[in-house]
């Protein structure tokens, strides 16, 4: 190599002169990538129309971002992935047969009102996608609670049916008597299982759970794989968990929020969840409640949104516990069968307070001397 005789101007900045490779847009695109498998599953089981829903949500989110940033004369933020991810999440939270104008309104509301009126990326105080979902949920409750039955249930045409949570919610309104929990309730009231559920469950019972002398009822496998009616992106717990593992491995999400959220929710369900079925204390069905609705999507991908979650570990844990508690409250006592979106939004609002109150312990902190 040739020696350089005269040097150009040197770059002068403050230290540090090294930087790791993580950037905001990398975070956004990684979260997007981790969500793709669950979305493919949704499109597969609910049909090609659900892909149009996703595209409409994403396009309207990105377009709104583009227009607003242009109008405000800010540097382009199109490729930071943030608006794309918001759009994607809006789409994932839509029922598969929704009229397209609803996700469009949700995305526009998410980006224009929730994100940009407060200053854009980093300044929104609610998860934009969830706020968008809740906005259209209250505006068009009918279409927002109409569910397609997945094709894996053997239906040939677009048939609508109740989601497990909705089925339980309406069923329990008039229910009197005793069952062991939601699984038996669904069985007794004729909620069908798929063929694959029956095959896999019996295989698991014979080869795996028999080792502990245990047995799982039919229906859990449907919930776990996503053979149930629900929002496009929320049904496959399996694929969502795979995406979450990827995010953990890349250190993009940390354990605090998902564990605290699912943990506190599971605890409330386990202790108190059996009461309504006449099963008594400590007989709630945790597995059903974690895999039946949107809580896996919520706990790993929405509650962990950095902008709207606390800064410190302790704050994150309190945030997660609170979200779990509110999800329990809404699901068991509220008017809606779900509760994930509302409880996360509720905790989002408390984040500034948590950040103000909870600080990390400082190194060498001197205890205040008594005067």
């Amino acid at each position: 190599m040739e020696k350089i005789e005269k040097i150009d101007q040197l770059l002068v900045t403050t230290s540090p002169h090294l930087k790791d490779s993580m950037t905001t847009s990398k975070i956004m695109w990684s979260v997007t990538a981790s969500l793709i498998p669950a979305g493919i599953w949704g499109v597969y089981v609910f049909g090609i129309y659900s892909l149009y829903v996703l595209i409409a949500s994403i396009l309207s989110a990105v377009l709104t971002e583009y227009v607003i940033v242009k109008l405000l004369g800010k540097p382009s933020t199109l490729w930071d992935g943030s608006a794309f991810l918001t759009g994607l999440l809006v789409g994932y939270n839509m029922p598969p047969s929704i009229p397209l104008y609803i996700p469009v309104v949700a995305s526009v509301f998410a980006i224009a009102v929730v994100k940009h009126t407060f200053g854009g990326l980093g300044h929104n105080w609610m998860n934009p996608a969830l706020a968008g979902r809740v906005f259209v949920m209250f505006s068009w409750t009918g279409p927002m609670t109409t569910w397609l039955v997945p094709r894996t249930r053997g239906v040939t045409d677009a048939v609508t049916g109740a989601s497990p949570l909705g089925f339980i919610k309406t069923g329990l309104l008039t229910f009197k008597g005793h069952v062991s929990g939601p699984m038996e309730f669904m069985k007794v009231n004729g909620y069908p299982f798929t063929h694959s559920d029956i095959v896999i469950t019996s295989w698991l019972n014979q080869h795996i759970f028999s080792l502990w002398g245990a047995k799982i009822p039919n229906g859990y496998v449907d919930l776990f794989l996503g053979n149930i009616p629900g929002c496009i992106g929320e049904v496959s717990a399996l694929l969502l968990l795979l995406g979450a593992i990827y995010l953990f491995a890349k250190k993009i999400i940390t354990w605090e929020i998902p564990v605290a959220y699912l943990g506190s929710f599971a605890l409330f369900v386990w202790v108190l969840g059996g009461l309504r079925y006449g099963a008594g204390l400590f007989h709630g069905d945790v597995v059903f409640h974690i895999f039946a609705g949107g809580i896996v999507l919520g706990a790993f991908f929405m509650a962990t949104d950095m902008v709207t979650s606390p800064l410190t570990r302790k704050g994150m844990i309190i945030f997660g516990i609170g979200a779990g508690f509110f999800t329990y409250l809404i699901r068991f006592f509220g008017a809606f069968p779900e509760g994930v979106s509302l409880s996360i939004i509720l905790m989002n609002i408390l984040v500034p307070l948590l950040n103000r109150l909870i600080r990390p312990k400082r190194f060498g902190e001197v205890k205040e001397e008594k005067k």
Binding site: M1, E2, K3, I4, I7, D8, L10, L11, V12, T13, T14, S15, P16, H17, L18, K19, D20, M22, T23, T24, K26, I27, T77, D80, G119, G120, L121, G122, H123, M306, V307, T308, S309, P310, L311, T312, R313, M316, N355, R359, P360, K361, R362, F363, G364, E365, V366
Partner: protein
């Protein structure tokens, strides 16, 4: 190598690039034809010049006298004639008066067999006086005058004397090489310090990425039957900071705003200990030090023994010059060092490395809004909330920043290293401290 000690909170793992120079033995750098010797090479008051333009100076002659309690003597690193006293920029970006010496005449010391002096018969205060006389300062970068650090106030007791061989900054290998090549001298230096401080325990902390230095130290201590414990440490930046090092080694936390002595400890860098050895045994003032000259833009990266006052440009020339166009030249380590405006600043007692990076190695992060990811908080070894401090300072709320611990920040750079939004957090902290200082006056 399981269960190695380290500090518990925060820290980062940047790639260290030490392979460029950690196998390269120390060699003597060229003697500069002109040495620019700053009078302020230490924390505290600048030394008072004892020479004038036209004076003849000899190698190692005292040319600047410590003024005030926290100050240090400065000696000429080459024989010659004083050309004048000029204002120069130090590698840290500060300005200082410097004695410019033009090389001329005989070297009295270099290349000659030096007479060993017996120190075991001397009293601790005589040894401390020698440390002061020879202008020894902390060579890890902070350049605090060593004799001030070793002057233990009445009522304090030194439980631990800790030798800092961590060298956690990426790229730097100067301390690593002296631990390999000057092992016995360092150990004798430790014994000298032991006599001055009379500590109960003597520890040497070395990070596990220098296994050769760890085992060599252990072997020599064993052979000499010394009461010194080598503690291998788990790799983590900024373990070389004395607060983190003490936490890792002793489990104790230096209180906020306090000194290591508050928890019964004194910490010195291995380079400082070696200089103390040379000062006491060979009567040699601190006029040269080992500097790692490295980076992808340097032709022949290596560890060079450099005379204080050698200009950065001359030193780079000695290392073969540039093979790639440098975009950034850093004095010190890449995490806490200072980017240079040009190549004219002199090497000082505190310059541990010169790193020249081409544009392939320099990332210029694009600043985007904070997304509250909390990464800066998780990596801050001091338990601060850099993002909050930055925002307070950005909005000129300096008192709030101070109450949230701004002064505990030592600018280690872990926060800015991980910030996905590319926010110049360290720059913010520096600005905040500057504003706090100017407000007080």
């Amino acid at each position: 190598m399981k269960n190695l000690k380290t500090f518990p909170k925060g820290g980062v793992h940047p790639r260290d690039y030490k392979e460029l120079t950690n196998k390269v033995p120390i060699r003597n750098a060229i003697v500069p034809s002109e040495a620019v010797i700053p009078l302020q090479q230490h924390i505290g008051a600048p030394a008072k010049s004892l020479v004038q333009s036209g004076d003849k100076v000899s190698e190692g002659m005292l040319i600047g006298e410590a003024s005030g309690f926290v100050s240090a003597n400065v000696h000429s690193s080459i024989p010659g004639t004083v050309k004048g006293i000029e204002k120069v920029y130090l590698p840290t970006g500060m300005k200082s008066d410097a004695v410019v010496v033009e090389l001329e005449g005989e070297f009295e010391r270099s290349g000659k067999e030096l007479e060993r002096r017996d120190w075991r018969g001397k009293s601790p205060s005589e040894l401390l006086e020698k440390v002061k006389e020879m202008g020894i300062v902390g060579m890890g970068g902070a350049t605090f005058p060593t004799h001030v650090k070793y002057t233990i106030k009445k009522g304090s007791k030194v439980e631990f004397f800790v030798v800092n061989g961590v060298e956690c900054e990426p790229y730097l290998t100067a301390d690593h090489r002296i631990m390999l090549e000057r092992t016995d001298d360092i150990l004798e230096g430790v014994e000298i310090v032991r006599k001055i401080l009379n500590p109960e325990v003597v520890l040497i902390g070395i990070e596990a990425n220098k296994p050769d230095a760890i085992s060599l130290m252990e072997d020599r201590i064993e052979a000499k039957k010394l009461d010194i414990h080598v503690v291998p440490l788990k790799l983590k930046y900024p373990q070389g900071d004395e607060k983190q090092l003490l936490k890792a080694l002793t489990g104790r936390e230096v209180p906020s705003g306090g000194l290591p002595l508050d928890i019964g400890a004194v910490v010195s860098n291995v380079g400082t200990v070696l200089s103390i050895f040379e000062a006491v045994v060979f009567d040699k003032p601190l006029i040269e030090r080992v500097v790692t000259v490295t980076g992808d833009a340097i032709a022949k990266p290596g560890n060079l023994k450099v005379r204080v006052g050698t200009r950065i440009g001359d030193l780079i020339e000695d290392a073969g010059g540039f093979v790639k166009m440098p975009l950034k030249i850093i004095a010190g380590g890449p995490m806490m060092g200072f980017a240079q405006v040009d190549l004219n600043s002199p090497i000082t007692k505190g310059t541990s490395g010169i790193i020249a990076l081409s544009k392939e190695r320099v990332k210029i992060p694009r600043e985007t809004p904070c997304i509250h990811c909390g990464r800066c908080i998780r990596v801050c070894p001091m338990g601060l909330s850099p993002t909050r401090l930055y925002k307070w300072i950005d909005h000129m709320y300096i008192d709030e920043a101070l109450s949230e611990g701004l002064m505990d920040c030592k600018e280690c750079g872990s926060c800015a290293y991980v910030c996905p939004a590319g926010i110049p957090l360290v720059q913010g902290m520096k600005l905040g401290k500057y504003l706090a200082k100017s407000k007080k006056v």
